[in-house]
């Protein structure tokens, strides 16, 4: 639980919240546990948004090397014409390789032009893992033992970083809390702020809930106490949300009408409010393109368009804290260089990731480039992993102000990618 100092104040606001559960109530208190976000010019605070592309996004379609005859040979039918030029690889094994973005990333062109968008290529887990479940699990635990107290890397990064705890320090705009946040005692999963409210009760009903979810003593470790603790966190979060979450966004209409669009709009709304949001997680589905994935058009192009439109709207909505923002777009692995017999691609190894926002040194592709000539591919079929996904996640942890990465990534010393601008 939080320190004893903040507890009485929480109780005050919680009581008000519960009393007003039926009707509208203006909460006069600014609870102490809600940290004033970026108060004052000097009080800059980082904001990390992780968009996880579940299913293994096809990195070679998202960020193709341009004019590569080997890639042309391997997957002509999957290569979209007229890619957006992005730039050369910062740490390419060979000089002269330049990369593009799938044309459906067009909404991100202004960001790319401003140098606030970068790609990271050949990213993945070092050991060959080709199951979604296993690969996502490894990325999200990032070295922690399964079943441990704090399994999620993002939960550990938040615990190790300087951002003070608050009800919304981290949350997932998703139907469920991801493994990466497992172990964070407060992180909520919510698809939209409206989805988060108490039922209408009588005043007595409100008081009863307050008793029911009185924070259990720290020594009480049973499963029941665990649920009671979650209930206590929930009441805290609701009072914070009620006090601070603003209304609609200026650019609400710019977000795509899709599950991903709704989730990204939720991130924007909470991050704009004074809720002390430091990290947000978004799950995006629809990247497991085993069948007829298409090139310029098709299911993959559609997913990319949805993602690009949503990201552009997110960055625009957060223009008031552009320099705080780091968005990492990452997937559990890439896909085969060549199509399978169904016009799709099967699970591969190295994938592509994106980094966006004012915190990014953009206009480049980071990471070594292993190449896609047949003899350069792993098992003759997959882009090799040249950059450990933990190197990328560590940039996110650094952005959150974590200095000592050792507890965040047990058993691994992340190599700096140089992705972040030096903070003023």
């Amino acid at each position: 639980m939080t320190s004893g100092l903040t507890r009485p104040m929480i109780d005050v606001t919680r009581r008000e919240l519960l009393r007003g559960a039926v009707g509208a109530l203006v909460v006069a208190h600014v609870p102490l546990f809600v940290r004033p976000a970026w108060a004052g010019a000097a009080g800059r605070s980082p904001l990390l948004v992780v968009v996880f592309l579940r299913g293994g996004a096809d990195g070679l379609a998202l960020v193709p090397p341009l004019g590569d005859p080997d890639l042309q040979r391997a997957r002509a039918e999957l290569l979209a014409r007229a890619p957006i030029e992005l730039g050369g690889a910062a740490g390419a094994l060979r000089t002269g390789v330049s990369f593009g973005l799938h044309p459906k990333f067009a909404p991100l062109v202004p960001l790319a032009r401003d140098g606030r968008l970068a790609a990271i290529h050949a990213v993945g887990w070092p050991e060959p893992v080709r199951s979604h479940f296993e690969a996502q699990d490894l990325c999200e635990r990032a070295g922690a033992r399964p079943g441990g107290a704090v399994e999620g890397w993002l939960a550990r990064a938040l615990a190790a970083g300087p951002e003070p705890p608050s009800a919304f320090r981290a949350f997932a705009a998703a139907s469920a809390r991801p493994r990466a946040l497992t172990g964070d005692p407060r992180a909520l999963a919510l698809e939209s702020p409206e989805s988060l409210h108490l039922p209408a009760t009588s005043p007595a009903g409100g008081r009863a809930l307050e008793s029911l979810f009185a924070p259990p003593e720290a020594v009480e470790r049973s499963a029941a106490a665990r649920f009671a603790r979650a209930g206590a966190e929930m009441l805290d979060a609701l009072s914070a949300l009620r006090a601070h979450a603003g209304g609609a966004l200026r650019n609400e209409d710019a977000f795509p009408r899709s599950p991903l669009g709704t989730q990204l709009a939720t991130v924007a709304r909470l991050a704009r409010a004074d809720l002390g949001v430091a990290a947000a997680w978004v799950d995006a589905y629809g990247w497991d393109t085993h069948v007829r994935q298409g090139a310029e058009e098709g299911p993959l192009a559609h997913s990319i368009g949805d993602l690009a439109q949503g990201l552009a709207a997110l960055v625009d909505a957060l223009s008031n804290r552009t320099s705080d923002l780091l968005v990492l777009v990452v997937s559990e692995f890439g896909r085969n260089a060549a199509p399978n017999g169904s016009g799709g691609t099967d699970h591969g190894r190295g994938g592509a990731a994106l980094a966006l926002g004012g915190a990014v040194r953009g206009g480049a592709v980071y990471g070594a480039w292993p190449g896609v000539r047949r003899d350069e591919l792993e098992d003759g079929r997959d882009l090799r992993v040249a950059t450990d996904v933990r190197d990328l996640l560590a940039e996110g942890a650094r952005h959150l102000g974590v200095r000592d990465l050792a507890p965040v990534f047990p058993g691994y010393a992340p190599r700096p990618l140089g992705l972040l601008r030096t903070r003023a």
């Binding site: 979604h132 139907s175 039922p199 009588s202 009863a208 209930g231 966190e233």
Partner: protein, 458 residues
Amino acid sequence: MTSTASRPPEPGDRARWEARRALDRLAYGPVPGDVERVTALGARAWVARELARPAPPADAADLAAPSLPRFGRGRLGGGAPDSGAAMEMRRALRGEAREIGMEILGERLARAVSGAHPLYETMVEFWGNHFHVFARKGLPETFLLPSYERDVLRRHALGRFGQLLLASAAHPAMLFYLDNWRSSARRGVNENYARELLELHTLGVDGGYTQRDVEAVARAFSGWTLRRAGDGAAFHFEPRWHDFGEKVVLGRRLPAGAGESDGEAVLEMLAAHPSTARHLAHKLAVRFLADDPPERAVARTAARFQASGGDVRATLDALLLGGDELFDPGLVKVKTPFEFVASTLRATGARLDRPEGALGALRRLGHLPYLAPTPAGAPDLAERWIDPGAALERVRFAFALSSGRLPGVDGRGLEEIDPFALIGDALRPATRRALATEGLSTRERVAVALASPEFQLR
């Protein structure tokens, strides 16, 4: 202060406590009067009786509540993909798909709540999650679900694992979901099914197979595809798509030239493999005993699974009655959202007239059959289901139900419910205080009991 929820009960209450535990673990919780009935019989005797009870016919409409006679439909969308008529047809089909989805999920819930065949329903849910297919894979998937539910899950829920495995492998819903229907040696085999078969359905991720095995298994299943059959789809083996070469799977040679039987040989081998026994025993123990189940229970169950040739009843007998773990107060499980919703409806004697309200809550709690986003299905672990957001949804469901605002649910009998009877004997002081709140109405007391930490355990 120590936990009261897991404190061993007083000796005099032991029989009652065991009855409740058995009902919580095997029957989506008690309906009013159940605890007394099972106490009179004895919890172990009741478990034995449920293990021996004949499974109902897979398509029996044995429910008073929503009767859903649409099983057996199965239609693949037709027409040229770009024609206006095809677009219109797709729109119509999408509407129909929604209806089928609602019906099949509603029937799952209604049957769980009805309690006519509790252990059978529990195993239908278990296998449905184990052999998960995703309703939103594409339009045809939903139309294949009624037959999948009936001909795979319900037909084999308490039968032999090998039969169930074969039924799932050859069913159009699985062939479509994991892309095997397009796997052709001519165009390139598709590994999706082969990988999930090894990792999720049989050996388990640490079951001792390699990428080479995945590739060989994928080749063995090349040509296992679909054909149209009337309005629906049926299994079809397409020899022109099959890789007739020799394959080596888990060190065993499958000679060249075999054809359709390649896949069957792989399934037989996998069903009998010790890693499969171990994987399934562990998963069943997680379902019925604890998130981190005792090794002796897992080992015992795996041994019986193998000795019985994958007989589900015999395996469950070893797990549930071969030791004392089922009745160990220290082994606690948290209800999944599906169990929570089913058990609230049962505990309050509420009548489920239409499923929408309850299914809406399950959607928000992220736990609907056929809608888990990955082939792994939904995990059965407390860490997955306990967080502040889940606490809120459970509170909301409890209050909606008890105040009569849950669409499709008739909770008129709720006034008669004793909130203390909902929870059992071991109350946390906080819950006792909450239930004693001055001015609380009877219905709100029921809601508080249903939202209590104690009620979330099974």
